[in-house]
């Protein structure tokens, strides 16, 4: 695969506060790459540096091998779909989409034809003469995408484009964006703080936190093989425990020695252990490798979310079996359900579900990401 954009050792600070801390990232042709992280992690700043709206304090941005640090946005072969769409309110749908072509003095007949094609791609042909201010969020979204794609950029940047849409529409747009990306063959760089969105749409996910890249990988890699406690916690649900690697394929945590599939650690090396909630089996107390008391059960539709207190550490378990609060149960964990990570600066910060309700509150606050790190 061909490299399109390279970020080399990029750093950026606002008023002495580091937003990006020596980032290295390669972006390839025809890939759907997602920058994923909580607000303030530097993902939007990264996007704005690629778009040309911010200048890195340090490091180089290259486009097809050429350094573009000082190339202004209008001379970059990159277009952006902005967070709140930024459609021109004084122009109708057609003219918004035609905007970049008019700037290039494309002949009228050609503009007419290209805009029609593009509006068809985003299924808005019937609204060409409408004012953009009268459109629904989803329709405005489509206009923004059509406007950004009509100039045939090499790369399309999308800054949390689905954040303002409701859940159902968001799911549809996810599918559609993916389809458009496949159809056009344009590289998409997508910024989001929604891990589920990242997992469903991306070829490559870049997990960021505190101005640093935590992990780059396919959705499956990121989910199954998180590199540190931050990634494990941010992507999906996980129980993260303190453990000790006794020897290859043998790890001890929660007072029990488990077989596992990881090796290559020092003997007796302290590690972080990740167990996904859906990989834990509930068994009778006497058969369990671990034993504990159920403290809460929440019905989630497809499954129950069960919180189990095991020696003071609260585990989350997702199960279709019903258990009752205060019931004593045993847990059984298969070797391949255990993932071992090296200790990192994030060790011990995440993974316990004793404050679970708070976490739910935080997760259900939409739009908290609006005053992103860009300002």
């Amino acid at each position: 695969m061909k490299k399109i954009i390279e970020l080399k050792n990029i750093s950026k600070a606002y008023d002495g506060e580091t937003v990006l801390d020596h980032i290295d990232l390669d972006i390839y042709d025809n890939e759907f790459l997602t920058l994923l992280g909580p607000s303030g992690c530097g993902k939007t700043t990264t996007l704005r540096i690629i778009g040309g709206f911010e200048h890195p304090d340090e490091g180089d941005v290259t486009f097809l091998g050429e350094r573009i640090n000082d190339v202004p946005p209008h001379k970059r072969n990159v277009n952006t779909v902005f967070q709140k769409y930024a459609l021109f309110p004084h122009l109708n749908v057609f003219e918004n989409v035609a905007f970049p072509l008019r700037e290039r003095k494309v002949p009228k007949a050609e503009i007419e034809q290209k805009v029609q094609e593009m509006l068809e791609l985003v299924q808005l042909s019937h609204l060409a003469k409408r004012r953009v201010t009268g459109l629904s969020g989803g329709q405005q979204q489509r206009v923004a995408i059509a406007r950004a794609l009509i100039g045939r950029p090499k790369v399309l940047l999308l800054d949390e484009p689905l954040g303002a849409l409701d859940l159902k529409l968001r799911k549809d747009m996810q599918q559609e964006l993916k389809k458009i990306q496949k159809a056009t063959g344009i590289t998409f760089i997508f910024v989001t703080h929604d891990q589920e969105e990242a997992l469903t749409m991306s070829d490559t996910i870049v997990v960021m936190s505190e101005g640093k890249i935590q992990q780059i990988g396919t959705p499956v890699d990121i989910y199954n093989e998180p590199q540190n406690a931050f990634v494990a916690d941010f992507i999906g649900e996980s129980n993260i425990l303190d453990g000790v690697m006794l020897e290859d394929l043998k790890v001890r945590f929660s007072g029990h020695t488990f077989r596992c599939v990881d090796k290559g650690f020092q003997p007796k090396e302290p590690v972080d252990v990740v167990v996904r909630p859906e990989d834990v089996d509930i068994v009778s107390e006497e058969k369990g490798m671990l034993r504990g008391v159920v403290t809460s059960v929440t019905f989630m539709g497809v499954h129950y979310e069960v919180i189990v207190d095991i020696g003071g550490f609260k585990w989350m378990i997702q199960t279709t079996d019903f258990v009752d609060v205060d019931e004593h149960i045993g847990l059984s964990i298969d070797p391949d359900a255990i993932h071992i990570m090296k200790k990192s600066e994030y060790s011990g910060l995440y993974g316990d579900y004793s404050s679970f309700s708070n976490e739910l509150d935080e997760l259900s606050e939409p739009g908290e990401d609006e005053s992103e790190d860009a300002e």
């Binding site: 040309g52 309110p89 004084h90």
Partner: protein, 287 residues
């Protein structure tokens, strides 16, 4: 645009409605009434007709007295408005893009002259522009020749621009300050250089502000009389002077007729401009 219903809408509006009725609507009705009646308050078109037909001989040339005055007023007012726009638009743009602290400072600097009485400001310009005034003393000190400004149309225009510039800057500034920076970024992203961003996004979006600025400068400058008397040395009789003169001479019906005609012309001009901007800003097709 949807209109929002305020609770107690009617009650909240009542003081203003009363004020508007007493001091805006009733006087307007009186102006119209006087304009179309004679001294005995019988209906007549004479006053209005006199404005268009009255003739006098100036320097051996016969001309239509009031139409000439009206065109002169309109010319000076348009020149002043254009200068205000040329000065005010960039100023408003710079202000809107400045840091918050500097915006406040610039706003204060623009407002300070407005705290001073209008007459005093005009007198100050007299002292500056006189043949032996501050400007000419300064020029002679520099070894440059004197300029004769006072009593010319130029002096009147300077006075109008000085007095009315804030009314141009403020509405444009308030629209520009509200403009979403993302729109400007989007324009750059889509291939516009700075000039194109200004021409294709900032200018069309600021048109409503430009329109109110033009309204707020053009109307008072077309009807001003004081500036022309003081800075024009009374040589430039403007429509405001004519109206004032007729009132002072107790010729109320003709004064009212002139005021009425001026009002109708200005309203028509404003309606035309409003339609134009509505079309440009919200109508859809551009270029």
């Amino acid at each position: 645009m949807t209109k929002k219903q305020t609770p107690f809408g009617g009650a909240v509006l009542a003081p203003y409605s009363l004020w508007a009725l007493l001091f805006i609507l009733v006087p307007l009705v009186f102006v119209a009434y006087y304009a179309f009646t004679d001294n005995a308050f019988a209906f007549t078109f004479d006053n209005v007709a006199r404005f268009f037909t009255a003739k006098s001989v100036v320097d051996g040339v016969e001309q239509r007295t009031y139409l000439v005055i009206f065109w002169r007023s309109l010319k000076l007012a348009v020149i002043s408005t254009v200068i205000c726009l040329l000065l005010g638009y960039p100023l408003a743009y710079i202000m809107a893009r400045a840091s918050e602290k500097r915006q406040k400072l610039m706003m204060t600097l623009i407002m300070i002259p407005m705290w001073m009485n209008f007459l005093i400001r005009t007198y100050a310009w007299m002292t500056i522009l006189q043949d032996t005034g501050i400007l000419n003393s300064f020029l002679t000190t520099l070894g440059l020749g004197r300029v004769h400004i006072i009593g010319t149309e130029g002096a009147v225009v300077i006075g109008m621009v000085y007095d009315y510039l804030p009314y141009m800057v403020l509405p444009i500034y308030s629209i520009m300050a509200k403009m979403d920076v993302k729109l400007l970024e989007a324009a750059r992203d889509l291939g516009c250089n700075s000039v194109s961003v200004l021409r294709r996004v900032i200018w069309p979006l600021s048109l409503p502000g430009v329109l109110s600025g033009i309204t707020m400068v053009l109307i008072p400058s077309v009807s001003t009389f004081y500036i022309s008397q003081k800075l024009g040395n009374g040589k430039f009789f403007l429509i405001g002077d004519a109206i004032e003169g007729q009132y002072v001479a107790n010729n109320l019906h003709f004064a009212a007729a002139m005021a009425f005609i001026l009002m109708v012309i200005l309203l028509a001009a404003m309606a035309g401009m409003k339609k134009f901007t509505n079309h440009r800003v919200y109508g859809g097709d551009t270029l």
